[in-house]
């Protein structure tokens, strides 16, 4: 009976350091003279990067079985559909 794979303790510290670095980048980026669109891409790009780090390592989805990953992804699929259908209406109105 092999031990279940999981992140090393040092990996957890590295992920935390990366998350804090990303937070600092977000805070600095918010003060840079970029356009409104570029600001959003920058800020939400970093949020997505942080989420990937938290979900894959802190929440251990990277080490989970396929069925657990499928359940973890299901909510995102429905959320994506919600946004896709809503904005395909709102953004195409004359």
């Amino acid at each position: 009976m092999g031990a279940q794979k999981r992140p090393e303790r040092s990996t957890l510290y590295w992920i935390y350091a990366s998350l804090v670095l990303l937070l600092i980048l977000t805070a600095i980026g918010a003060k840079l003279p970029l356009g409104a669109g570029a600001h959003d891409v920058f800020a939400f790009g970093i949020s997505i990067a942080k989420t990937i780090l938290i979900v894959s390592i802190f929440m251990e989805v990277r080490y989970d079985k396929g069925i657990v990953r499928a359940f973890a992804g299901a909510g995102l699929v429905w959320l994506a559909l919600l946004f896709l259908l809503t904005f395909s209406d709102y953004l195409t109105r004359p």
Binding site: D40, F58, T86
Partner: protein, 215 residues
């Protein structure tokens, strides 16, 4: 009455591994519904932000950027502590589990405390819709009020989730002290950990949505 512990597997499960997988599927199903719960609010915010960008950006400038940033840091740190708590009990170290649960609780409580201070400052600045909102502070008062309504709704819902998370951490701590968790059995720690990280992720998105809208 047998309580769940290292030596007892509930009769509906064939093995500890099967029980853990069922627990993981259960909490992820719950978190999927939570994604849609917050998703509805985030969608409303997104639609209105597209429609009233200038008003949203103006109202966002009235929020306390540094409090939001420090709170994000605090929450990320609490997530590390929670991950370390799960890691510790994987190794069978109950003393470390208890220590990290306490640290997670402290950071979570610090987040809520700072959030309450921020709400008080918002109140003093007349930024609370339906309570003391002062439209004379804004060039786009209707859009600003809508933004602030969404700000209080989303951060308030998040704070309720944080409070439930703190209760769950307290529950885990006392169970850990009673000796319920071990290297073989620690599913509740993992389940609460997943919930805690999820609440952290929600804030990771609320932070740029509310504090970082730039003109």
């Amino acid at each position: 009455m047998p309580r769940e512990s290292a030596s007892h597997i509930p009769e509906q499960f064939e093995s500890r591994a099967q029980q853990e997988e069922a627990d993981a599927l259960g909490i992820w199903t719950f978190l999927s519904t939570e994604i849609l719960f917050f998703g509805g609010l985030i969608l409303s915010y997104s639609v209105y932000r597209v429609s009233y960008h200038a008003g949203f950006a103006e109202a966002s400038q009235h929020l306390y950027f540094w409090i939001g940033t420090i709170n994000t840091f605090i929450l990320l740190t609490s997530s590390l502590c929670m991950a370390l708590a799960v890691h510790s009990i994987h190794d069978g170290d109950v003393a470390k589990l208890r220590r990290y649960l306490v640290l997670t609780f402290i950071f979570g409580a610090a987040f809520l405390g700072l959030k309450l201070c921020e709400y008080y400052l918002d109140y003093r600045e007349h930024l609370v819709p339906s309570v003391n909102f002062d439209p004379s502070h804004f060039l786009h008062p209707h859009a600003a009020e809508l933004f602030l309504f969404l700000y209080f709704a989303m951060t308030g819902l998040h704070a309720i989730h944080m409070t439930l998370g703190l209760s769950a951490l307290t529950y885990l701590y006392f169970r850990a002290r009673r000796g319920d968790f071990s290297q073989e059995y620690h599913s509740p720690v993992k389940v609460v950990g997943l919930y805690w990280h999820f609440v952290d992720i929600v804030w990771v998105f609320l932070y740029p949505m509310l504090y970082l809208i730039n003109n």
